[in-house]
């Protein structure tokens, strides 16, 4: 540990004292000690900064520094160098203090021979070295502890942060949950959640208000027995089963029974919620109360039906003369045939063949009269006919029969161009018949001023695009001025002296109530064409 050559910095302003120390060191171990001398502290500090020394021999009373301050300034300049204080006889007290504040040892000037100085220097170096080592070890330990502490601290903060964020997430979740139910509660739509067994899991405010039940009392109850009217339980169960089996969203309408027994009609959109393993866990129904809307629609339809009925009666009134004539014809023939038969049989001049033929003709004419009455009666029937599958071509023929008398009377020929195959159509038969008859009669009436052999009406049925059925009624009348193409459909528009001007407006309402369209256009080369399209049944 003791270097082979020991560099000493001797700080001493008294040249005699300095010389004594130098001599003492040389004499004990010549050549080993290499002594550099400084007279002032400032000089010493400069040397310490520039060179490495193994020990400093330090006089405490220098011209530019006194006392303990001198020691601390040296330590400051080089903390690693061992310091041995040189003190006079009278100030050993100060020397002891110097040792306490960082010097390794002290020597009393004049009393310390070379041997003593040399040993003191060696010890000082060794002590300082050990001290330094110890300090390093201590420092290392400290560093490790600090490191570890820092690690722990970091982990700790991380944990802290994690806990905080979890708290926050829970808050958010809680907030979100509250938020979602708050949002659901602001909806006018009814929301209800059922489990796979159809038991009530949850519902929102609108549902509660509509039914009069609080969630707390309905929770876990069977949806069907609590909220459905018995007749509808089965079909709704079928909807639920299909929904939970397939998971595919569906729609349905059913009535919801409230606590007070009142029912509301709800249009539902149904979806499912999947569980963790992807299985269908819940069914969610979102419903809108369409009771009022449906009632309004029903009233509207009822009104249309009533107006349409009145219009049919009035049409039959207008056609009464023709129809009476039409019925009177076969009756007249029947009476004449039967009178003739009686006469022939009475006079004994009868031919059996002739009688049989007359009787057959009587039968035919009776049926002819019956058909006319049947047509009129079915036309003026009031009650709503259920929408049924119908053959539009057959309906056209029926209408032509009704309008035939008027057409014949006015010298109008009716031609038919009926499509061979048409997509199936479901509609209210009488209403569509009414539209057709109205168009055909308008066409017939439009041709009063046309030369008799040019009065033609053509009725054509065809399959339109977009799965629709089209019926066009063309005439060879005066046609419509461009500004009338729309106007003729407004209620009470008429150019006829005794017309009501309701026919086309009612017809348009009827067609639109069937999801179709009725419009007018110019016919080629002359006249007008009124046509309507009706959506065919979805296949």
């Amino acid at each position: 540990m003791i270097p082979a050559s020991i560099r000493i910095l001797l700080v001493e302003d008294n040249p005699a004292d300095a010389r004594l120390v130098e001599l003492g060191l040389v004499e004990t171990d010549s050549g080993r000690f290499r002594v550099t001398r400084a007279e002032r502290l400032s000089e010493a500090l400069g040397l310490l900064r520039e060179n490495a020394y193994d020990a400093v021999l330090l006089d405490l009373s220098l011209t530019d520094s006194h006392g303990l301050d001198t020691v601390s300034r040296v330590i400051e300049a080089d903390p690693a160098v061992p310091i041995i204080v040189l003190s006079g006889l009278h100030d050993t007290e100060l020397a002891l203090q110097a040792v306490q504040s960082g010097a390794q040892d002290y020597l009393v000037k004049g009393e310390s021979g070379g041997e003593l100085i040399s040993r003191s220097v060696r010890y000082a170096i060794q002590r300082k070295h050990a001290e330094t080592e110890l300090r390093r070890a201590h420092d290392e330990l400290e560093r490790r502890v600090a490191e570890r502490t820092a690690d722990l601290l970091e982990t700790n903060t991380r944990l802290q942060r994690e806990i905080e964020s979890r708290h926050r997430a829970e808050d958010v979740l809680r907030e979100e949950h509250g938020f979602i139910s708050a949002v659901l509660d602001t909806l006018d739509a009814l929301v209800v959640v059922l489990d796979r067994g159809g038991r009530i899991v949850s519902f929102n405010r609108a549902f509660a208000e509509t039914t009069g039940y609080a969630l707390a009392e309905a929770h876990g109850e069977d949806f069907w027995s609590l909220f459905l009217v018995p007749e509808e339980a089965k079909p709704v169960l079928a909807v639920f089963d299909a929904l939970t089996a397939s998971g595919r969203p569906s729609r349905n309408e059913n009535r919801l029974r409230a606590r007070d027994g009142a029912t509301r009609l709800i249009a539902w959109s149904n979806t499912v919620l999947h569980g963790e393993r992807g299985e269908v866990a819940y069914a969610i129904g979102t419903g809108i109360d369409i009771t009022e809307r449906r009632q309004a629609e029903d009233r509207e339809r009822q009104r249309l039906l009533e107006i349409a009925h009145v219009a049919r009666l009035s049409t039959m009134g207008e056609m009464a003369t023709e129809l009476a004539h039409e019925i009177n014809q076969p009756l007249t023939a029947i009476a004449a045939y039967s009178d003739a038969c009686v006469r022939q049989l009475r006079s004994g001049s009868s031919h059996q063949e002739e009688i049989i033929e007359a009787l057959e003709r009587i039968g035919t004419q009776a049926r002819r009269a019956g058909e006319i009455i049947r047509r009129v009666r079915s036309y003026v029937r009031k009650e709503e006919s259920p929408r049924t599958r119908m053959d539009i071509n057959e309906l056209v023929r029926e209408v032509v029969h009704l309008a035939e008398a008027e057409a014949r009377w006015r010298g109008v020929g009716i031609e038919l161009d009926l499509a061979g195959t048409l997509p199936p159509l479901t509609a209210d038969r009488i209403l569509i018949e009414q539209v057709l008859l109205n168009l055909v009669r308008n066409a017939i009436e439009a041709m009063d001023d046309v030369a008799p052999d040019e009065r033609r009406v053509l009725i054509r049925t065809s399959a339109g695009g977009d799965a629709a059925i089209e019926v066009a009624v063309r005439d060879s009348g005066p046609g419509l001025a461009p500004e009338l193409v729309e106007q003729v459909f407004t209620p009470f528009f008429t150019t006829k002296p005794s017309g009501m001007g309701l026919g086309l407006s009612i017809s348009q309402s009827i067609v639109e109530a069937h999801g179709g369209r009725l419009w007018a256009a110019a016919n080629e080369p002359c006249g007008a064409v009124f046509q309507f399209s009706l959506p065919a049944d979805a296949r």
């Binding site: 029947i334 009178d339 006015r410």
Partner: protein
Amino acid sequence: MQSEPTVYVVDDDEPIRDSLRMLLRSAGLPVETFASAQQFLAAYTPPAPGCLLVDVRMPGMSGLELQELLAARKIALPVIIITGHGHVAMAVRAMKAGAADFVEKPFDDELLLECIRRTLARDADTRRRQSRSSESTQRLAALTPREREIMEHLVAGKSNKAIAADLGISARTVEVHRARIMEKLEAKSLADVVRIALSS
């Protein structure tokens, strides 16, 4: 066209034509039927006797129009109008326009046949009278203006003496004219003279 009086039925409805044909034939009446006024006009040659039974309501030319056309062409065929039940207005119009009669559908066969027979009888009568009147006209044409003047006084019921005074001639001369008039008109009595003068 045969000269036997015939019932001409014009109606656009086939069962009505056919049943009427059977009924009228059962009653022993000759019948011919037509689906329209035009068909009838094309087939009928005046002055074939009989009567026309025509529906007032027909597409094309109606019964009333046919009646007017016949009148305009001076075809003296009596017309019986067929109307629907309760169409009194139509019937009145037809009668004013000179229809012989009207019948309502459905027919009462007794009434119909009676109506037809009456009309046929009247037609025959008219034709007889018509042919008579044309004879009278021929005979009257043979009279001189003086003889015609004296005949008119005779028809007015004046005596020979009054006529002579009126015309400023002698009663003897009136006597001679009167004998010539009776001879020319082939009249056996004054009553005959009056009838011939009025039937022209």
